[in-house]
């Protein structure tokens, strides 16, 4: 069981900044995210695109914003459970909560902050009738460990960066790699497209376009895919089929936690502290709704800040505390580091 002060569901910009504000109050945080990397939408959808409305940054790439946040929170040593979806929540008698993930990892905390954005990023599944039957039996939507494919016959479909990049990477590991895409054109970084072309020319990978996978073959485990090209269907034998059509966010299990939901978002008390209808559970960032809500990063930062103050009072109802400026109080990390403003120079002029 992982124990912490504030359990944050969602490691997008809002969840990450929560760690900093909580750290100033000496509260420890642990984050859960369905994605294998932190950053939420900024990492998954637009890491290389600029943002122009972060206060004091005339322009910053979404990926750099995430890197900066990670650096800013480093002294507070947050814990991460990545690649797992928060699935169930259980309220204990002492007022704390246990959150269990899709992989069974259990976390306990007196405060839960849901910073789940538009929802947990789930793979977009191609519309092939038999696909669900083979999930876990040769069909994977996310590559977690490339070694898993060593000496295996792999078919990948998709036309974007991840399809290209994984084809290139697995070409050294798998017995064979076949890439199937609906068009001859791929959307990826120029060097990825060129590398894939070179691997195709040297026969290290096979690329079948314009084509589509229309059916899957096999008993329990997948044994082949049926590829349709110019109205001709052929079966290609394989051990694994990896459709890479990107991820789309789904609110998912959180919708069944007894929280008040409106417009696919969690209703919160915005006049006070962004608490939900369940005391001790807060919702901040894109995942919440209240009159006048705007889904912007800067709003998520603000909500996280107020929420942490309220969480502190919930955890330490009898302790007095007043907010201190970081310039005045400095930043004292849990790792023993301390940042503080240089002292003024006081020296006599004689």
């Amino acid at each position: 069981m992982i124990k912490t002060d504030i359990l944050i569901i969602g490691a997008g910009p809002t969840g990450l900044f929560t760690v900093f504000e909580a750290g100033l109050l000496k509260l420890k945080c642990h984050l859960i995210d369905a994605l294998p990397i932190p950053g939420g939408q900024c990492s998954e959808i637009y890491p290389k695109k600029p943002i122009y409305d972060i206060p004091a940054f005339p322009e910053i790439l979404a990926g750099d914003l995430v890197d900066n946040l990670m650096k800013q929170i480093e002294p507070f040593q947050p814990g991460f459970t990545l690649g797992e979806r928060a699935q169930t929540i259980e309220a204990l008698e002492d007022g704390s909560f246990i959150v269990t993930t899709s992989k069974g990892t259990r976390h306990q905390a007196p405060v839960v902050a849901i910073a789940g954005g538009l929802g947990s990023f789930e793979p977009r599944k191609p519309l092939i009738a038999s696909i669900e039957k083979f999930e876990g039996n040769g069909v994977e939507y996310i590559i977690r460990d490339p070694e898993f494919y060593r000496s295996k016959k792999v078919v990948i479909s998709g036309g974007g960066d991840s399809a290209l990049d994984w084809c290139i990477f697995l070409s050294d590991i798998a017995e064979s790699v076949t890439l199937v895409h609906r068009r001859n054109e791929f959307r990826g970084a120029l060097d990825s497209v060129e590398k894939a072309q070179e691997l195709k020319n040297t026969g290290k990978i096979e690329i079948i376009t314009p084509a589509e996978i229309v059916d899957l073959k096999g008993e329990t485990n997948i044994e082949g895919v049926v590829i349709k090209r110019e109205n001709i269907e052929t079966t290609v034998a394989c051990d694994h089929f990896i459709p890479l059509f990107g991820l789309s966010p789904k609110l998912g299990p959180i919708a069944d936690w007894g929280l008040e939901i409106e417009k696919n978002a969690i209703k919160v008390d915005n006049t006070l502290d962004y608490q939900t209808n369940i005391p001790g559970i807060y919702a901040i960032g894109d995942v919440n709704t209240y009159p006048g809500k705007l889904k912007l990063i800067l709003c998520g930062f603000h909500e996280a800040t107020l929420m942490c103050q309220s969480a502190y009072k919930r955890i330490f109802p009898d302790k007095r505390y007043v907010m201190k400026y970081t310039t005045v109080g400095g930043v004292e990390g849990f790792d023993g580091t301390k940042k503080e403003a240089p002292k003024a120079v006081i020296k006599a002029i004689v």
Binding site: L118, P126, R182, K263
Partner: protein, 109 residues
């Protein structure tokens, strides 16, 4: 300010005739969002960058639409439920020529 009238058939098959402003730099996806014709979070996921296909629609009227860009074409080639009339709503800008446009929203996926 010039408003145009367009018809949007939502994912439940209900037809809505609505007014859309042409002077607010809005695209079709944003018009659908502003009238809440698709649940929050199921349309415009990428904010209108031709990167998610959540705004896919089928164009039913014979309007002269903007030429499909490489980005839109690439995204549609990775989308599901694509038909020959498919377009990404976020790539269709509201202007006076779009008056009378009729589209149906593609299923959520």
């Amino acid at each position: 300010m010039i408003d145009i009238t367009i018809t949007i058939i939502d994912r439940q098959g209900v037809s809505h005739e609505i007014n859309a402003p042409t002077d607010m730099n809005m695209n079709l996806m944003e018009v659908v969002k502003s009238y809440e014709l698709a649940p929050e979070g199921t349309i415009g996921v990428c904010g209108g960058m031709a990167m998610c296909a959540s705004c896919q629609c089928y164009v039913e009227s014979g309007h002269q639409l903007p030429v499909i860009s490489d980005d839109e074409e690439a995204m549609l080639s990775e989308a599901f439920n694509v038909k020959t009339t498919s377009r990404l709503g976020c790539q269709i800008q509201m202007n006076p020529e779009m008056d009378g446009l009729k589209v149906e929203l593609a299923p959520e996926c």
